[in-house]
């Protein structure tokens, strides 16, 4: 996000927002193609931020697995599955 804001700040042209939010794949494609479009970089930062809680739940599941607490591995995976379902269904 900081990089995106910095690029936006120093970009000479005007910033154009897409009519609708791009798909995460489009954001990834834009970044991999090497184009440092400030808006796409900001979207990438925002998407990364939105995905951090997913990682947190997965980390907790791994932690429970290390402690051999199967019940809570299942609970954590249920939460993760619900988050993932919401992500997939929202973006379809």
């Amino acid at each position: 996000m900081v990089l995106g804001l910095a690029l936006a700040w120093f970009s000479s042209g005007t910033l154009r927002l897409p009519n609708e939010n791009p798909r995460p794949i489009a954001v990834l494609h834009s970044l991999l193609s090497g184009s440092l479009d400030p808006v796409m970089v900001m979207f990438a930062g925002l998407l990364f931020l939105m995905l951090t809680p997913f990682l947190r739940v997965l980390t907790a599941a791994v932690g429970f697995a290390v402690e051999k607490d199967r019940t809570f591995v299942v609970v954590a995976l249920i939460v993760f599955a619900m988050l993932l379902a919401e992500l997939v269904l929202s973006l379809q």
Binding site: L5, N19, N21, F43, L49, R56, V57, V79, L83, S90
Partner: protein, 270 residues
């Protein structure tokens, strides 16, 4: 976006994040009215931005609290099943409601929050549920006293019910929901306040993520607004936590309760 708007967004984020952290509310309660009343942002965009800010502040604080072992991960994960369901339905509901209806509902929420702020100053329990009397036993070292606090959790289904409602409000209005969860964990389940706050802080980011992609998919996330505002709230929350350690005052809760009431009225008759 002009440079003035950019700095105003960061500054507004810092101020709302500071106030939110000082009062243990998270930034959303102040950020959404700021974006709506000052920037005249559509309500859905303001809520989406607030959700991002909630994720940012939760992510920053949660790692620290998990490391200190204050977060009761088992309880948090159990309650998360309810809050995530609530948040998903909240997010879906918000996107079929008009901005005007959401603004009115948000102003009513602010009235509730201001009432809760005063109510909790008198009703928080200092006694926790002893080990063996409940489930999810845990202990942590209280840095203020140096003592190890051990406790367990009673009446989990009741707190799950509150968490479902809190998650729904979070998805619907973009607030963390800690204002409802922390008192419930403390008063219903007998969880020490520090553990309840840390567990709630861990949870709100996951809850917010449950509705974040719904707002994203509906095109309500404006990166030019969300990025500076979320960064500002994140910075402000660090400042607020530091101030909160030094200032403990019922009068502070009263002042902000009155401020929230005024903001609520302003939003209702906008």
């Amino acid at each position: 976006m002009t440079a003035g708007s950019f700095f105003l967004l960061i500054g507004g984020g810092i101020v709302t994040g500071t106030f939110g952290a000082m009062l243990g509310l998270g930034g959303g309660v102040f950020l959404t009215p700021f974006l709506v009343l000052v920037f005249h942002l559509p309500m859905h965009q303001a809520i989406a931005t607030s959700i991002l800010a909630v994720i940012a502040t939760s992510s920053a604080g949660a790692a620290m609290n998990v490391e200190r072992q204050i977060v009761n991960l088992r309880l948090g994960m159990t309650l998360e099943v309810a809050t995530v369901i609530g948040a998903i339905f909240g997010g879906l509901t918000a996107n079929v409601l008009s901005g005007e209806v959401l603004t009115r509902v948000f102003s009513l929420l602010l009235l509730c929050v201001s009432f809760m702020m005063i109510w909790r100053t008198r009703h928080f329990r200092g006694i926790s549920t002893p080990m063996g009397a409940g489930v999810f036993p845990a202990s942590f070292k209280d840095e203020a006293t140096g003592e190890v606090v051990s406790y367990s959790v009673a009446r989990v289904p009741w707190v799950m019910g509150v968490s479902l409602i809190a998650g729904n409000i979070s998805g619907l209005l973009g607030v963390g929901g800690g204002i409802f969860k922390v008192p419930a964990m403390n008063m219903i389940s007998g969880i020490p306040l520090k553990a309840a706050t840390a567990t709630s802080n861990f949870m709100i980011g996951v809850t917010a993520a449950a509705s974040a992609f719904i707002y994203f998919a509906h095109g309500h996330l404006n990166p030019l607004v969300a990025s500076p505002a979320a960064l500002g709230v994140l910075m402000g929350s660090f400042v607020g936590v530091r101030i909160n350690r030094r200032i403990k005052g019922v009068s502070l809760s009263w002042i902000f309760a009155v401020v929230l009431c005024l903001i609520s009225l302003k939003m209702f008759w906008r």
